[in-house]
Symmetry: C2
């Protein structure tokens, strides 16, 4: 008898995670002879724990197309880690019970490294419980720090947004610099790795071009070297564009964004590294500055998503279903790069057990000797990932993004209480 | 004998000020029987003072098309006020001397209210000096606070960027809110007027839709009412999206962004209102938050410029030349709205003397009774301004923006020294 499938979104969302969702949805609908229905978890794996299941058969073809071009997690995501250890056993059992109650035999988990670990445990736990689930991961993270896959869905679109935004703001400050603002600082995501900040380097052709400084978490922040370089750029190019990762640290290992600022009431001031750098420049060099923190805007910017990224996100979702139907289990589809120029890639897969709890920082040969710029090797890697403009459709001047009020199927089990 | 023309960009630049420049350029080139060459000032009016003149005949048709789709000021802008008073007389005389030396009889000044005042004085001064210049303003300001014109070039594109960014970030936070971030704050420009913040209201269809709170400089910031509304949104809609103008003030008239925060060394912390609001929410309500400051990104976002805005920016540049050739002087072309639905507009003009030193805040009937949202009347006004996506062309995944190293014509006068 045909089994049903369950799909869940996990962790920080991206502008293309819904493209992966639609890859899974379309592949399941196209294989209705082998898989029953597909349920999406409301708010990710919490939807399994709370037995809040969205039957995707309620979606029209038009709605699926609309979800595919919508940023964020259409079904809801969550930050909820299912780790190892006996205190989590009850949760795994609950998830398997819910799957059993709804005749679910396939689990597709769309997330980063931690989620792949959870998916792996679901495969093991369900087998041990005598109700074996086919558990397949679908990669997702704007941080691009998953191992094995050449790139992660979500990253290429952030890279494109950051490169374009840095170029645009640099054209702005360059035209004002003679008599006004001389330094522009853009803070981007990346607490542990500098992939996103590195992507700003895509706009640099010659030394005079922005960005003049990129700050990577992979390098210790050197205040003097930084100030020298800002002064050099302003003197030689008229202005200085800085792109900083949120996670840069000083030589004591402390985040610059947690410099311990307090307001006039003595409260600790929380927030960005950009204003900290701005203040440093103000004090040491006296230049007029502007700073921006793009935060969620960068990872939700579906309006300027990368063609490569949206294509791969969808393809990986489809491939996850193909893997399940081919008899594979506890694995994750990945992108394998065949060549940079022309850019060629194909899909493959790796065991979930090898993916979890690994981190992929920028390779040493992607950061140049100054520590403030990327190398040609990094450029060759990044460039294919931002190709193509996957514009959404528009109505009345605004993107046609899905805002669908889903209903969940009727629960069959008692309510779940976290013990 | 044919006179030459001079064009200068002034003040904070926009994503479409170069479209206005190209309107002027194309109109001058198309009237080569009436006007000689067009010089653009390097770094705005400073280019006239320093006699740094860029002859636009060095530009190819392809370069002009590229400049037209490039954000920032292609020829450079400046923050440099030429006010009234005898201490400025020498500067006005210097500008007229430079114009005389290069046989310039037409002056097109692309800027906000202060610049229109300067353009007016150039007309008067040159006439008094016996070398009458035809002086025409071209409106420009993202703040949309110029009087008479229905809207200002630059504003529609910022409005579109802010509306789309707010929608995208809201879809992101909505999908995370169950277990993580519940409040998202976007800080936008607007020190004295709330036009830009108001544009986020374009994405709201029903009460549950974002933005749940808009903060306008036209309303005093009420901490209690604000916190109550944040809590209401989180309780009823699961999350809260806030869009704040940078220039909101408390009941004492102090900017919230200058709350007097100091770092651990006792230095005054400079910067945004978004982190101040985030901290308030953290202290009073305890919700997890994210904040973004879009700063230059919003006014440079040519990649998602409004079709209406780019069209009007270009048309106003062209009309400025037409006005000059029709014998008008000391005036500024404006957009007059004929109807909201369908949106119809035509060009007209007003005397420069009436434009200067006026400010146009949001009308009272554009902000609703709560003080946190816009009215249907405001929506009717804003909606036409964001219609159409004026995408730039792309090469290799990045917009084809102009980065042209201009050369200036040979100086004919001694160097200028500010007395």
């Amino acid at each position: 008898m045909k089994k049903n499938a369950f799909y869940a979104q996990s962790g920080g969302v991206t502008s293309v995670i819904n493209a992966s969702a639609c890859g899974v949805i379309d592949a399941v609908l196209n294989n209705s002879d082998k898989i029953g229905t597909l349920y999406a978890g409301r708010n990710g794996i919490l939807g399994a724990l709370h037995e809040e299941l969205i039957d995707v058969r309620q979606l029209s073809t038009e709605q699926i197309a609309q979800i595919r071009q919508t940023p964020g997690g259409a079904f809801g995501s969550c930050r909820f880690k299912l780790k190892s250890g006996p205190q989590y056993d009850a949760m795994y059992r609950r998830i398997i019970d819910v799957f059993k109650a709804h005749d679910i035999g396939y689990f597709f988990y769309n997330g980063g490294g931690d989620s792949q670990d959870t998916a792996d445990k679901i495969a093991t736990f369900s087998r041990d419980m005598g109700y074996p689930i086919v558990s397949i991961g679908v990669p997702k993270t704007i941080d691009n720090d998953l191992p094995f896959t050449d790139s992660c869905p979500g990253f290429g679109s952030v890279a494109k947004y950051v490169a374009i935004s840095t170029l645009e703001a640099s054209l702005d400050v360059a035209s004002m610099a003679e008599s006004s603002t001389k330094v522009f600082i853009l803070e981007v995501m990346g607490r542990h790795t500098g992939w996103i900040a590195a992507s700003a380097g895509l706009i640099k052709q010659v030394d005079a071009d922005p960005p003049h400084i990129i700050l990577f978490p992979e390098r210790v922040f050197d205040e003097q070297a930084f100030c020298d370089r800002v002064a050099y750029a302003v003197k030689n190019y008229g202005y200085c564009t800085i792109v900083t990762s949120e996670g840069i640290r000083n030589s004591e290992g402390a985040f610059l964004s947690e410099r311990g600022t307090t307001d006039s009431f003595g409260h600790k001031q929380l927030g960005g590294v950009a204003p900290v750098l701005a203040q440093l420049i103000q004090e040491k060099l006296g230049y007029k500055y502007h700073w921006a923190v793009s935060d969620y805007l960068q990872r939700a910017a579906r309006h300027i998503a990368s063609g490569t990224d949206t294509e791969q996100a969808y393809a990986l979702g489809q491939h996850a279903v193909a893997l399940a139907l081919s008899g594979k289990n506890a694995c994750m589809p990945i992108v394998v790069r065949d060549s940079d120029k022309p850019y060629r890639w194909h899909l493959s897969d790796v065991p979930l057990s090898t993916v979890a709890n690994q981190e992929r920082p920028l390779p040493d040969n992607y950061i140049d000797d100054t520590g403030f710029a990327i190398t040609p090797a990094c450029l060759d890697y990044l460039s294919p990932l931002i190709q193509g403009e996957a514009y959404p459709t528009y109505t009345n001047g605004l993107p046609n993004y899905a805002r669908i009020p889903f209903t969940c199927v009727e629960a069959k089990l008692p309510k779940w209480k976290q013990s």
